[in-house]
């Protein structure tokens, strides 16, 4: 009986934590302990639901272009902090700070902040040390 109760509680907890509520899915796919900076050229700024993506061409160590998919939140949330569908355009040079995907075989990450052709891009506030632990 206790096992059943525990399973139920775990299921409830999982249901409540499975999505960030703001991002439609868990952020655990991104390595929150790592911040990576990438520099490249915007290939496409995909203003789409449920998530906006910045497609960036980044040269790897061998000088070969690789396409990165940088995931943001939804358009509904982004407009409220000042982003627009035209904030980035193909060809823009950008520097982006991201939490990379845990699966290093896929070039992708979670957008944190960065700079674009017109200066700093609106980003997420950085938590103060120890906050939320």
């Amino acid at each position: 009986m206790k096992r059943v109760l525990n399973c139920t509680l775990i299921a409830i907890a999982a249901m409540l934590t499975a999505s960030s509520a703001l991002a439609h899915h868990s952020f655990a796919m991104f390595d929150q302990s790592k911040t990576v900076t990438i520099q490249g050229t915007v290939k496409d700024f995909r203003w789409t639901n449920p998530h906006v993506f910045i497609q960036v061409m980044v040269k790897n160590d061998q000088g070969v272009d690789e396409e990165w998919s940088i995931e943001m939140t939804s358009p509904e949330h982004l407009v409220r902090v000042g982003w627009k569908p035209g904030t980035l355009k193909p060809g823009d040079k950008v520097t982006l700070n991201i939490h990379p995907l845990r699966d290093g075989n896929i070039k992708g990450g979670q957008y944190l902040n960065g700079t674009g052709p017109d200066g700093p891009l609106i980003g997420a506030p950085q938590p103060s040390p120890g906050e939320g632990k």
């Binding site: 993506f53 509904e76 980003g123």
Partner: protein
């Protein structure tokens, strides 16, 4: 002959009364967001969880047995979040765009519009959820026609510029939730997952909600909510939320869980797949995704 002027006068009075009544409707135009649940660009929350809890000042009078269960859920949640910090990925069972009531009013990050009219006030949320609050004097839906939904059954009336809403027949929007699982959740930013949450109460299917919604100043609305639910609370629970007009937004921007979803679950993990081809009719090709079939898009 005298009837015509009399009829015209009656019509004029009627129209004037109607116009006067309409002009008394408050101007609640604009896009409203809940203070304390403002999204940031990454998908987290601007305000820290501690700030949110302080602002809420919620202390539901939970029945002891309910509180004991909530404590167990909170402990399991902490474990779940700690596991996420280590890379575990709890997988959602489906789209999470539906919030339902009362979440849409107290802990949702989605904007909404309020359209007060003479007989009904409509609240439209960016995720396409709608609350209909009938203010034409009708009673609640008769019992033999009533069933629980995530938005409940709402009637209301105006007390001056305050909209008083009475809502019953609410069930959780979560898929597979039992009738007596209607959690009230506090969200905030922080932690390595980007957000934190806590279930502060769990209501039953018998819960009744009375809201008093009013403008407190030019840019803020307030919802004073009283929840009556003897099955889970020892006394009525009074809580409040403040809404402000969202900055930078001049029309509804829709939220959609489907759209161009690029986060399928592959081999038990969420991943990112490349954008779909621009070629009309071609299917998205996860060319750099690991082996395995994408399942359960969320």
């Amino acid at each position: 002959m005298w009837r015509r002027p009399a009829l015209a006068a009656a019509l004029l009075l009627c129209c004037a009364a109607g116009i006067q009544a309409q002009t008394k409707m408050p101007d609640w135009s604009g896009q409203w967001e809940i203070v304390g649940v403002t999204p940031n660009a990454s998908g987290g929350v601007q305000e820290s969880f501690e700030q949110v809890l302080k602002q809420m000042q919620w202390s539901p009078p939970n029945r002891p047995e309910v509180q004991a269960r909530l404590d167990q859920i909170a402990a399991a949640q902490l474990k779940s979040l700690a596991a996420q910090d280590q890379g575990a990925e709890p997988l959602a069972s489906g789209p999470t765009c539906t919030w339902g009531f009362p979440a849409v009013m107290i802990d949702s990050p989605l904007m909404f519009e309020i359209l007060p009219t003479l007989g009904e006030t409509v609240l439209i949320f960016s995720g396409r959820e709608v609350r209909h609050v009938y203010t034409d004097g009708r009673e609640h839906t008769p019992k033999d026609e009533l069933w629980a939904t995530p938005w409940g059954d709402s009637i209301g009336h105006w007390e001056g510029q305050t909209l008083v809403v009475d809502t019953i027949a609410v069930k959780s929007a979560a898929r597979g939730a039992s009738p007596d699982f209607l959690p009230i959740v506090a969200f905030g930013g922080g932690g390595t997952a980007g957000f934190r949450m806590k279930v502060v109460a769990n209501l039953s299917s018998q819960a009744r909600f009375v809201e008093r919604i009013r403008m407190v100043d030019n840019g803020h609305l307030e919802d004073q909510m009283t929840i009556i639910d003897p099955a889970s609370l020892t006394a009525p629970w009074h809580l409040s939320r403040t809404y402000r007009r969202a900055a930078n937004v001049h029309r509804m921007v829709y939220e959609d869980c489907e759209g161009e979803d690029r986060n399928p679950i592959v081999n038990g993990h969420y991943t990112i797949v490349p954008p779909p081809s621009h070629t009309l009719g071609s299917a998205p090709a996860p060319t750099n995704a690991p082996a395995g079939q994408p399942t359960v898009p969320n």
